[in-house]
Symmetry: C2
Subunit: 192 residues, 2 copies
DNA sequence: GACATTATACCAAACGATCGGTACAGTAAA
DNA sequence: TTTACTGTACCGATCGTTTGGTATAATGTC
């Protein structure tokens, strides 16, 4: 079997257990491959496995996020499509984000560069959509960051509260919040 | 020396390296205590060390967040005080959140219950402040979640982008966003 | 005060288990 | 016969943990 076959399984393991927690014993059991076979497909060991998963996620990002966002048409609808795909990918908030897992694990330095560019790519793509609607580039970029923040934060909270509701709500509200016009005054609030 | 002396050091280590990455060797070196001495203070081993850190964070939360939020006075100002303390604690976005680290590490199950109640306590305290301003309880609770989401997401992004700017911006904008009145119509946006 | 006892704080060394990784013989397919 | 792949057995290193013990200071006893 080609090594690409095992990428989804590896993704699942690293998301679930983290870099350290996903031991070769677990990987061997989950893939049904002996250690020797794993090292045949991934001579670089665990690091190469994670790298392969990150490459897979890069192409996933391109196909499921960047390309839909790059199409012509309604900005709101395009962002909604992105949210649909994110909802799928994170299984409605039940699965954590591998990026966050890697960033907060002990091997953060090894994969930091790759994760950084993936984040930047995603944020820039969102910003570009908003710029096309006439939004100022600076604000659009902020909104792109806000989207990433909302998704990542919601995933953390969903894990922490052991309930996916916050993530689902964020995903549902996100397109409207991103397209929303800026507040006219600085601090409009209900009451003091 | 009493074991409380070593809590800040342990907090730093677990934040920086994660549960798995903070090995006893590193802990021994950082604290200046031999492994056996660590087991004198924390007979339960690493788990008890983390537990002690979480207990410390629980009292930190009470003193620096819950009590200021519980005072009388301007809601906006109280939330701003909370943000100041958070900014301190996370060192302007340069330090990750131990809760997230634990939730995404391999030992998530062990500390999940404790982290969950701490999250809930924090969110409820924010919601209570907003309810006092006349906000509907349901919306107030959503805003409490939004605050946690924004902080956690911003910390992840700050780690991922290797730049604390997103966190600082979120912290600065947070009080206004929480107090902000609900949108009149559902999806007001600039352009299609 | 002098002495025995106990509690606290600490450490060097070693424990078994598991880690990621490798060597190599063997099998299956071309 | 070559190439691709896999199972077994094994490696050194490091993991968290435990053992056995030593100082030091406090506490009780006479």
């Amino acid at each position: 079997m080609p090594k690409e076959t095992y990428i989804p399984c590896l993704l699942r393991l690293f998301r679930q257990y983290g870099y350290d927690g996903a031991t070769l014993a677990k990987i061997s059991e989950a893939t049904g491959l002996g250690k020797a076979s794993l090292y045949h497909h991934f001579p670089g060991g665990k690091d190469e496995m994670v790298e392969a998963v990150l490459n897979f996620l890069e192409s996933w990002l391109d196909q499921n996020i960047l390309q839909p966002l790059g199409k012509t048409g309604d900005a709101y609808t395009r962002l909604q499509q992105m949210c649909d795909r994110l909802n799928e990918f994170y299984e409605g908030g039940e699965q954590p984000c591998l990026f966050a897992v890697l960033l907060l694990g002990s091997a953060r330095d090894v994969f930091h560069a790759k994760v950084k560019t993936l984040f930047q790519t995603w944020i820039n793509a969102i910003a570009q959509v908003l710029i096309e609607t006439g939004m100022q580039p600076e604000l659009a970029h902020q909104r792109g960051e806000d989207a990433a923040i909302a998704v990542q934060g919601a995933l953390i909270l969903a894990q922490g509260l052991d309930h996916p509701a916050p993530f689902r709500r964020v995903i549902q509200q996100l397109p409207a919040q991103l397209c929303q016009a800026e507040m006219s005054d600085n601090t409009p609030r209900t009451t003091l």
